[in-house]
Symmetry: C2
Subunit: 300 residues, 2 copies
């Protein structure tokens, strides 16, 4: 496994690897897993998917300053390079790209990629400029690595939707592969930010996955019929935590993220996303669940 | 020469051509010449440069609606596909890509690329949103064609500066090759929009190149010392045309396009751009000249 810190060296190494691979296969698939590091089993699942679907796997680790707001946790975001490299090695990654902020932004970027519409809701409403920072850095990584496939976790479902929209609109030659959320045994969605939680808040944070599971069940058994039913149910469950402060608890169409009005009936939609952002103390956690309508198979 | 109208077919054809070329050369250079068609000898000079520097030359012809303002000439912009194809064939182009608006924008784009700073002056000030339309479509074309080199005319000097900034900021894997302005014998810079001019206005429009040449000479012989001298001189020359209405007549550093204050001395700069935008009737023409400081060679 190579650990590379500059764009020039990464391009040179990838060019060599691609040429070697071209001897063995008709087409060379480079798989990119973009991360901010402090890797957990959610990231490991992305690397596993990349390893299965690509000839060359590149993991990038970069805490991207321009996607953090002025009062957010850029400085304190957890970092552990040595442990990250061990995780990457265990997952069979070929190249770990760990650029410095100066390498990625030798001058402040004058160029920004903005996706309108779907970025204005949910996390976009609470974190102005966040998604412009994400799309800009992801597009830089795509241009540097030139991957055929890029792997993203569905925990950031809105991020997946935004990146898919960008790739579609700008004809980027890359397939976006969304991978399922990975959870602890007790249901907590894995996140690098979980490390911020005290034992007490860690326990209270279980209301997120519980609320989502309850909402899903209510849709399936038919006790929740409208968007209002879901909103009420989410607020009830999250309200069980004394410290939870809801940023949003929403239901919308996926991937458009068009919000559903209270009276809208859920069975009119084939693909819904229930998404939460909740603060426990200073720690803002997100979680979500997708509800896709199954084809009803008629057994004659 | 292949004439291709869809993105899927273009990608397939380029992939085949790249594979064929890989047998003969270590690296395959694809050269892209992005145009809006109605080709003249200025465009031909770009195709010649591309032919000299690339294995595969792609010419794109696309009148991009999103770079035109609501009161601009998108609908009436001159088009002549048959003549364009003849020009392309004569210049040895391999692929002409002529997509429809629906092919490039199956839905209105939600994604926009914006370059701040250098887009706010000159044409950016007169044509709000114009450069966002340019950077967005150029980035689409780069993603579709994946060229190693892209050729742009210096007549749109600000466009070149904006695209170079975008390529730099987003790490796009393409070299931008700026090519010199091509002029008629009497000095008029070639432009597809020259066709709009009556014989009388066509004659009056010569003040543009005359003003630029006079400004250059005054800098060289030392009669123009400050930015104010240049501005006065440009206004004097252009004022000789009864119909000319100046949009801007400016001098700035290149490629930053930082404006020079009136009292600034020209010899403090290594690379200056004198740029004009002037309306003759309904027709807005642009022209420019670059003044680069020569290294003084000492002959011992």
């Amino acid at each position: 496994m190579k650990v590379i810190r500059t764009i020039t060296e990464l391009r040179r190494e990838l060019s060599l690897m691609r040429k070697k691979q071209a001897i063995h296969s008709e087409e060379t698939i480079v798989g990119l897993v973009p991360t901010m590091g402090y890797l957990h089993q959610g990231h490991a699942s992305l690397m596993k998917a990349a390893r299965e679907q690509s000839h060359i796997v590149v993991l990038s680790i970069f805490v991207n300053p321009i996607q953090f707001g002025p009062n957010e946790d850029f400085e304190s975001y957890p970092r552990d390079e040595q442990r990250d490299l061990e995780t990457a090695r265990a997952e069979g990654v070929d190249i770990v790209f760990i650029p410095s902020v100066e390498e990625m932004y030798p001058q402040p970027t004058q160029t920004t990629i903005a996706v309108s519409g779907i970025t204005e809701r949910l996390c976009g409403a609470s974190r102005p400029g966040h998604f412009n920072g994400v799309t800009t850095v992801v597009s830089k990584l795509f241009n540097i690595v030139q991957p055929q496939k890029a792997f993203f976790g569905m925990k950031d479902a809105q991020q997946v939707a935004v990146i898919e929209q960008m790739v579609h609109d700008l004809n980027m030659p890359v397939d976006i592969i969304p991978c399922p959320i990975v959870r602890e045994q007790d249901g907590l969605a894995l996140s690098s930010r979980n490390v911020y939680l005290s034992a007490e808040l860690r326990q209270e944070a279980l209301v997120l996955s519980q609320a989502l599971r309850a909402a899903q069940e209510s849709v399936e058994i038919g006790t929740a019929v409208t968007a209002k039913d879901i909103r009420r149910l989410l607020h009830e469950h999250i309200g069980k935590s004394a410290h939870a402060v809801i940023d949003y608890a929403e239901i919308q169409a996926f991937p458009s993220l068009e919000p559903l009005a209270d009276q809208e009936e859920l069975n009119a939609y084939d693909d819904l996303l229930i998404a939460l952002a909740v603060k426990f103390g200073k720690t803002r956690l997100i979680d979500n669940i997708r509800i896709q309508k199954m084809e009803v198979l008629s057994h004659v």
